[in-house]
């Protein structure tokens, strides 16, 4: 440690204090409650899955919790319409298929086999 470092150093404890405050505020708030981020994640995924077939391997989820704001980043690779079928395979989702089909036709793309 040189002389300059000696004067520059303010100690790492304030950093530790701030990190703990952010973390504990979050953990205390969530201790007896369902995890909001987990709920958001699941519902967002469900909405997308309704329209697009999601390959679980192709989903990247990142999070960064901050003091005032957190970011949830969901990165889903959506196959091009026409190249791959939509998610809805069963009869119950026939309406969705129809919508997807129309959209594909309108774009002049070939309707994928699974949709039929």
């Amino acid at each position: 440690m040189n002389l300059l470092d000696f004067f520059k150093r303010r100690g790492s404890a304030p950093v530790a204090r701030e990190r703990l405050q952010v973390l504990l505020a979050y953990e205390r708030k969530n201790r007896d409650q369902p995890d909001l981020v987990a709920i958001l994640r699941e519902e967002i995924m469900a909405v997308i899955a309704k329209h697009v077939k999601i390959d679980q391997e192709q989903v990247q989820i990142a999070m960064d919790r901050g003091e005032r704001m957190s970011t949830l980043e969901i990165d889903i690779q959506i196959p091009n319409l026409g190249a791959v079928a939509t998610a809805a395979k069963d009869a119950a989702a026939a309406k969705d298929v129809a919508v997807a089909k129309d959209a594909a036709v309108a774009k002049g793309a070939a309707v994928a086999k699974d949709a039929a």
Binding site: S12, R19, D35, V37, R41, Q56, E57, I61, M63
Partner: protein, 274 residues
């Protein structure tokens, strides 16, 4: 096939998590792919020591129960790109961890990584036994102090009987990592010497980490000490221990000498920093 290393101790607070982070980061810096798994369900801390506590989305139990893919749960370190963390669950019950689940996760990690470090919880219960269950090697973190040495002896007994290797008639390669070693107190005879510890445990020595303020600073800022202060005495000792773990077993272990104190430090009654 990667090597699975459990970092264990029996006793709490001896430096398992700090050592897992420091050794893992040191090995990853050489370009090897390293995964660190936190087995302390309910009391996770490896994420905090690694500075990834704000980035945890999924955890070990999500992966064992199939609610998340392994690739989604692994958090890549922002400093070393071959270093990954698999956090423990903070909210689930300890019983959520099953042997089959752990076997499957470790099996997959073994294929993708060169090293898989399992940071064991304290104690000798289920969590600690699952952390060591599939280990090829064990780093037993010991402080030169009676209760820690006694607990290490107990853990060595478990490594020799309760691991998958032991049950197959093979043995887990065991190494003692002495942490929080205070050369001045050892010289004054107030602390067990390295020779005492090794004689009692009759297990080879991986390294001696001196008691050092840099370790606390590193955990304050959320970085393995080997990354945040690479020239620090404790960090250098960890880097050397990592090399021995990586196969350079002939690298001699230096017993830390008493730290030199500068004039001002003496005047202010402060111990030397580096």
């Amino acid at each position: 096939m990667g090597k699975v290393v459990v970092v264990t101790s029996g006793k709490g607070g001896v430096g398992k998590t700090t050592s897992t982070a420091a050794l893992g980061a040191a090995i990853a810096q050489t370009g090897k792919k390293v995964a660190l798994i936190d087995f302390d369900v309910g009391l996770r801390n490896l994420d905090l020591i690694m500075g990834a506590e704000r980035r945890v989305v999924f955890d070990l139990i999500n992966v064992t129960q199939g609610t998340a893919k392994l690739s989604q749960a692994l958090i890549r370190d922002k400093r070393v790109e071959t270093l990954f963390l698999l956090p423990a669950s903070q909210t689930r019950d300890k019983d959520a961890l099953t042997e089959d689940g752990v076997a499957s996760v470790i099996g997959k990690l073994r294929e993708k990584f060169d090293y898989v470090f399992c940071d064991s919880p304290a104690g000798i219960e289920r969590g600690a036994q699952l952390a060591m269950r599939f280990a090829d090697e064990a780093v037993i973190v010991t402080n030169p102090e009676v209760s820690s040495v006694r607990d290490s002896d107990r853990i060595i007994g478990l490594l020799d009987s309760k691991t998958a290797k032991a049950e197959k008639g093979e043995s887990v390669a065991k190494h003692i990592l002495v942490t929080r070693f205070d050369a001045a107190r050892a010289a004054r005879g107030e602390m067990l010497s390295i020779a005492d510890v090794l004689e009692i445990l009759s297990t080879p020595l991986l390294g001696i980490i001196p008691e050092n303020q840099g370790v606390l600073r590193a955990s304050n800022v959320g970085a393995p000490v080997t990354l945040s202060e690479p020239t620090n005495a404790a960090a250098r000792a960890y880097v050397e221990a990592a090399k021995r773990l990586g196969g350079e077993s002939s690298l001699p272990v230096a017993v830390p000498l008493m730290e030199k104190r500068g004039f001002f430090d003496r005047l202010l009654g402060r111990r030397a920093a580096a």
